[in-house]
Amino acid sequence: MINVLFAVAFLVLAPILGGLIAGIDRKLTARMQGRVGPPVLQPFYDVGKLLEKEHVIVSVSQNFFVLAYLVFIAFSGALFFAGGDLLLVVFALTLAHVLLVLGAYSATSPYSFIGAERELVQLMAYEPMVILAAAGFYLATGSFSVMEIAAFPRPLIAVLPGIFIGLFYVLTMKLRKSPFDIATSHHAHQEIVKGVTTEFSGSTLGMVEVAHWYETVFLLGLFWLFFAWSPVIAVIALAILYLAEIFIDNATARVRWGFALRSIWAVTLVLSAANLVWLQYFGGL
C-alpha cells in the first residue's frame, strides 16, 4: 500500500523540517560550547548562498552523481513515508550513498578519494544493522510495509530493544556526527579537508546539504516506527534521541575508522542477533 500524498508531503516538507533541525542542532551545539551560535535559519542561508555561487567543476560527471544522490535520497525517504517496502527503502538508500561515493571518486582529488573510501567503510559498517533492523520490524509485525509497521498497535520498542540500541549506535554515523564522522566532517581539516565533499562546490554542495536534510528526516521517521503506537511519546522520544546525538557529538572525539567499523559490527552482531533470535524463537512478548 502506497500513499502518494505522504510522499509528496515528504518531498515538500522534509527539506524545511530537516533544515530547521540542522539549525537547531547548530544553535544547541553552540550553547553547549558556551557560544551564542548562528541563527536557527542559518542552514537555509548557507544553501541559499551556495546556489548563488559560480558553477565550478572538476569533472563533468561529479554533478550528475550528486544530483542522482539527491534524487535517490529523496526517493527513498518518499518511499518510506508513503508506507512502502522497508527493504526497498534500505536498498534505495544504499544506491544513493554509492552514487555520492562515485561522485567523490570522479572528482579525482586525493582528499575526496580518501573520503570516498571512508564513506564506503561507513556504508559497510552500518548496512548490516539497517538490514537487520528491517528484518526485526518484519519479525515483530509480520510485514515489511512501513504503513503496516507504523499501524502496529503495540509498542515496538518493547519487542525490539536490541535493534533500537543498535540503530541508535549507527545513527551517529548516519548523521555524520562525532565520534563516527570519518568520511566528511567540519572538524577534520587537517586530515581529509572535507572528505567526500571536498570537490563539490556551489549548487552541487547545496544539493548534498539538502540531501542530508532529507536523510535526517527519514532517519527520524525510521526511529518513529519504534514508538508509532503513541505519537506523543514518539515526538518526545525523537526529541530526546536527537538531543542525545548532539550531546554525543560534542562530548566525543572522532575515532579511527577501524575502531568505528569494529565496534559497529560488534554492536550489530550481538544486539541484533540476540533480539532476532528472541523474536523468532520465543515470539517476543
Partner: protein, 150 residues
C-alpha cells in the same frame, strides 16, 4: 537575495606569519567572539570558501600556494589581508626572502593592519569584506565579471 552576506565561509592561509595573527584569527572562533554568530565558518577548503583570509607576508614558498588557493575558489570571492605583514610585508618587508604583501600575488579587497591584528579588527574586516562580496555578487548577477578591473 542577500544570502551571500549571511553565510560567509572562510579559508585561512598562513603565508609566512609568525603565528601571532593566526592565533588571533582562531580566537575569533572561541566563545568570547564566536564569529559563527554571523554564519562564518572556517572551511579549510577553497572550493567551499567565499573569503580568503591571509596572514603573513608572501615568500617564494607561499606565492604559488596563495595563487592556487585563490584560483580554486568559486566566484564571487574576496581576499582579506590580516596583519601588517599580509598588508605590506611589515617589518620583514626588506628581508631577502620576502616579496611583500599579499597584493603582490592576488588582488586584495580589504587590508586590516595590526601586529598582531586584534579579534575585533578581524571581525570588522570580515564584515567590510561582506560588503565587497555583496557587490561582486550583484555584479556577477548582472553578467559582468565579478572582479572589476581584472
Amino acid at each position: 537575495m542577500a544570502y551571500m552576506k549571511r553565510s560567509p565561509w572562510i579559508i585561512h592561509y598562513d603565508g609566512s606569519s609568525c603565528n601571532g595573527c593566526d592565533i588571533e584569527v582562531l580566537a575569533c572562533l572561541t566563545p568570547l567572539y564566536d564569529v559563527e554568530r554571523f554564519g562564518i565558518i572556517n572551511t579549510g577548503n577553497p572550493k567551499h570558501a567565499d573569503i580568503l583570509v591571509v596572514t603573513g607576508s608572501v615568500n617564494e614558498q607561499s606565492r604559488q600556494v596563495i595563487r592556487n588557493i585563490y584560483d580554486q575558489m568559486p566566484e564571487p570571492k574576496v581576499v582579506v589581508a590580516f596583519g601588517i605583514c599580509a598588508c605590506s610585508g611589515g617589518v620583514f618587508r626588506e628581508c631577502y626572502n620576502v616579496d611583500g604583501g599579499i597584493d603582490q600575488v592576488i588582488p586584495v579587497d580589504v587590508y586590516v593592519p595590526g601586529c598582531p591584528v586584534r579579534p575585533e579588527q578581524i571581525i570588522d574586516g570580515v564584515v567590510r569584506a561582506l560588503g565587497v562580496l555583496e557587490e561582486k555578487r550583484a555584479r556577477m548577477k548582472s553578467g559582468e565579471p565579478a572582479e572589476a578591473g581584472v
